[in-house]
C-alpha cells in the first residue's frame, strides 16, 4: 500500500477532470470561476507530490506561484463579474452572446 507518485498524479487528473466538467457545464459565471480554481488546485497537488518524491523544491515554488496567480485571477474575475452584474443584473452565460459568427 505504498503511496507513489502515480497515485497523486491520478488524483490530480481526476480532480482536473472534475474541474473541466465544471468549466463545461456551469452557466453561472461565478460557479464557472469555482471550476477554474479547481483546475489550478488539482495541479498543485501534483506539484507538491513531485517535489516530495524528487526531493526538489521547484515543484513547491511552482505551486506557490500558481496559488498567487489563482488569487490574482479571482480579483480580476470578480471585478469583471461585478461590473457585468451591475449592468445586467445577472451573471448567466447564456445572456452573454451578443457577438457571434
Amino acid at each position: 500500500m505504498e503511496i507513489g507518485l502515480n497515485h497523486y498524479l491520478v488524483l490530480t487528473t481526476i480532480l482536473f477532470a472534475i474541474g473541466l466538467v465544471g468549466v463545461m457545464r456551469r452557466k453561472n459565471l461565478l460557479m464557472l470561476f469555482f471550476a477554474t480554481e479547481i483546475l489550478l488546485n488539482a495541479v498543485n497537488i501534483s506539484f507538491a507530490a513531485i517535489s516530495h518524491y524528487y526531493g526538489d523544491l521547484t515543484g513547491q515554488m511552482f505551486a506557490f506561484f500558481v496559488i498567487a496567480i489563482a488569487a490574482s485571477e479571482v480579483a480580476v474575475g470578480l471585478g469583471l463579474l461585478i461590473v457585468w452584474h451591475k449592468k445586467h443584473n445577472n451573471i448567466d452565460l447564456d445572456n452573454m452572446s451578443t457577438m457571434r459568427g
Binding site: 507518485l5 498524479l9 477554474t36 483546475l39 489550478l40 511552482f62 506561484f65 480580476v76
Partner: protein, 502 residues
C-alpha cells in the same frame, strides 16, 4: 542546516532586468502622479508612456548590442535569458506599443483614456510580456503571461461597453482555462524531468531518449492547448473574433500583434526542440493545426459582415501562417517569423487604426456593428485619401507586392520550400488566395459601391487627430516602403535568430 549563500552582484547580471523594469517604473510613476493630482489630461499619460517606452527601446538597443558582442546572456540566477529571440520579440513588443499608445489621443472622448490606470496597466502588461519572452523558465513564463493577461482583460473591459465586458469575460474565462492547461502541462514536464527550465527539459529528455513518450505527449498536448489559446489556433481560437469585436479597434490591433509574438517565442522555445528530436506526432499535429488555422480562419473571414471581425479572423489566419515557421523549424523559417511579424505589425496596426479613426461613439444608423462593410461603401468618393490608405493596407494584408507583408510572405513560403514542406508551401500560397477575397471585399465596398445616403465622408475621420494621422502615416509609409528596409531587417533578424541557436 542551511548554509548562507554568497551571491556577487556581477554574477546576477542585473542589466538583463533593465528593459522590464523600465515600464514597471513608468507604470508606478503614473499611479503616483495620479495619486498626487488626479484628473490630469490623458495627453500627459500618453506622453509619459511614450517616453518610458522610448527609454525602454533604448535599453533594448543596449541589450541588443551586448548580445551582438557576447551572445546569449543569462541573468539573476539564470532565470532571465536574453537571447536573440528575446531581444527581437521585445523590440516588436515595445515598437508596437510605441505605435499603439498615441492612438489614445483621439478626437472623441473614450472612457478608458480618462483613467490613468489604463496607462499604468498598459505598461505593466508590456513588462509582463517582456518577462514572458526573456526567460525559459516555465514559472516565470507563467507569471509574466498572467501579469500581461490580467492587465489586458482589464484594458478590454475599460472600453466600457456591453460588448467589451462580454469580450473581457470571455477572454478571461477562457484564459483561466488555458492557465489550467498550462500548469498541467508544466506539471507533466516537471514530473518527467524534475526541471521547469526548457533547456534542462530538453537535455534530460534527450538523455532519456524520450523513453516516456506518452508523458511527453500529454505534456505537449496541454501546453499546445494553452499556447494555442494565446496564439488563437483552431479550435482554441473562438475567443478571438468576439474579443476583437468587443474591444476598441486600436486595442484589437494591438492584441493581434503583441501577445501573439510573445506566444510565438514561447512556442518556439518549447516546441522546436521537440520537433527537432523527432517527435513525429507533434510535427503531424502542428501541421494539422497550422493548416486548419490558416484555412478555417480564412473561410470564416469570408462570411463576415463586419470589418473588424473580418480582420480578427484574418489575424488568426496570419498567426496560423506564421505558426508554420515553428513547424518548419529552420533558421530561415524562424527569421521569417520575426520578419513577417515586424512587417505585419505595421500593416495590421495601420488597418486597425483606420477603423479606429472612423469610430463613432454610437453605432451608426441602421448598422449592427461599428465597422460594418456597408459603412465603407463608396468611401473613395467622400474621402479618397483615407480610402486609398485603407486599400493599401488591405492589399498589403493580401500579400500584393511590393507592400510590406509580401516580403514576409515570400520569405516564409520560401522557408517552407527549403525546409522540404512543399505541400505546406502550396497550402500557404493558396490560403493567401482565399484571403484575397475578403480583403478585396472591403476594397470593393470602398471603391466600387456607391455611398449610403447622407454620408459626407466625415464619418471616416470622425475620430482623427494629428497623432492618429501620424501613426497611420507611419504605418502606411512602413507598408509602402518596406522593400527598402527588408534587406536590413532580414540580415538583422537572421543574425539574432541564428546566434540564439534557432
Amino acid at each position: 542546516m542551511l548554509s548562507p549563500v554568497n551571491v556577487s552582484i556581477e554574477s546576477l547580471n542585473l542589466m538583463t532586468l533593465v528593459p522590464m523594469l523600465i515600464p514597471i517604473v513608468g507604470a508606478l510613476l503614473i499611479i503616483v502622479i495620479d495619486l498626487f493630482k488626479s484628473g490630469q489630461d490623458k495627453s500627459l499619460y500618453v506622453m509619459l508612456s511614450l517616453l518610458v517606452l522610448g527609454v525602454d527601446f533604448v535599453a533594448l538597443m543596449e541589450s541588443a548590442g551586448i548580445f551582438k558582442q557576447n551572445g546569449t546572456v543569462m541573468g539573476v540566477f539564470d532565470v532571465m535569458l536574453i537571447d536573440g529571440l528575446a531581444i527581437l520579440s521585445q523590440f516588436i513588443i515595445v515598437g508596437a506599443s510605441l505605435l499603439f499608445i498615441p492612438l489614445a489621443l483621439t478626437h472623441k472622448r473614450f472612457h478608458e483614456f480618462s483613467y490613468p490606470e489604463f496607462f499604468a496597466l498598459f505598461l505593466f502588461m508590456i513588462a509582463g510580456f517582456q518577462f514572458m519572452v526573456a526567460t525559459d523558465n516555465l514559472i516565470l513564463i507563467f507569471v509574466g503571461l498572467e501579469t500581461a493577461s490580467l492587465a489586458l482583460y482589464t484594458l478590454i473591459a475599460m472600453h466600457n461597453r456591453d460588448k467589451s465586458f462580454e469580450a473581457a469575460v470571455k477572454y478571461f474565462t477562457m484564459g483561466a482555462l488555458a492557465a489550467g492547461f498550462y500548469s498541467f502541462g508544466s506539471m507533466v514536464f516537471y514530473a518527467l524531468t524534475g526541471s521547469v527550465e526548457i533547456n534542462q527539459i530538453a537535455t534530460i529528455l534527450s538523455a532519456n531518449n524520450y523513453a516516456d513518450i506518452g508523458f511527453v505527449l500529454v505534456g505537449v498536448v496541454f501546453l499546445l492547448a494553452s499556447l494555442g489559446f494565446k496564439l488563437s489556433m483552431v479550435p482554441f481560437h473562438t475567443w478571438t473574433p468576439d474579443v476583437y469585436e468587443g474591444s476598441s479597434a486600436a486595442l484589437a490591433g494591438y492584441m493581434s500583434i503583441v501577445p501573439k509574438i510573445a506566444g510565438f517565442v514561447v512556442a518556439m522555445r518549447l516546441f522546436e526542440f521537440l520537433i527537432h528530436s523527432g517527435v513525429v506526432w507533434l510535427e503531424v499535429i502542428l501541421y494539422m493545426g497550422v493548416v486548419m488555422t490558416m484555412t478555417m480562419a480564412n473561410i470564416w473571414a469570408l462570411v463576415q459582415t463586419d470589418v473588424k471581425r473580418m480582420l480578427a479572423y484574418s489575424s488568426i489566419s496570419h498567426a496560423g501562417f506564421v505558426m508554420a515557421a515553428i513547424l518548419i523549424g529552420t533558421t530561415q523559417s524562424n527569421s521569417a517569423l520575426f520578419l513577417y511579424w515586424i512587417l505585419f505589425s505595421f500593416t495590421n496596426l495601420g488597418s486597425f487604426s483606420m477603423l479606429w479613426i472612423s469610430r463613432q461613439k454610437n453605432l451608426p444608423a441602421h448598422q449592427q456593428s461599428d465597422h460594418s462593410y456597408d459603412k465603407f461603401a463608396g468611401m473613395v468618393k467622400t474621402s479618397p485619401m483615407a480610402a486609398s490608405i485603407m486599400g493599401l493596407f488591405m492589399l498589403s494584408l493580401a500579400g500584393i507586392p511590393p507592400f510590406a507583408l509580401f516580403w514576409g510572405k515570400i520569405y516564409m513560403i520560401s522557408s517552407a520550400v527549403t525546409g522540404g514542406y512543399t505541400v505546406l508551401a502550396l497550402i500557404m500560397a493558396l490560403n493567401s488566395a482565399i484571403a484575397g477575397y475578403y480583403y478585396l471585399k472591403l476594397i470593393v465596398y470602398m471603391f466600387m459601391k456607391d455611398p449610403v445616403v447622407q454620408n459626407n465622408g466625415h464619418v471616416y475621420v470622425a475620430n482623427a487627430t494629428l497623432p492618429l494621422k501620424t501613426i497611420i502615416g507611419v504605418a502606411a509609409m512602413g507598408t509602402i516602403f518596406a522593400f527598402l528596409a527588408v534587406n536590413q531587417l532580414l540580415e538583422l533578424v537572421t543574425v539574432f535568430v541564428y546566434n540564439s541557436g534557432y
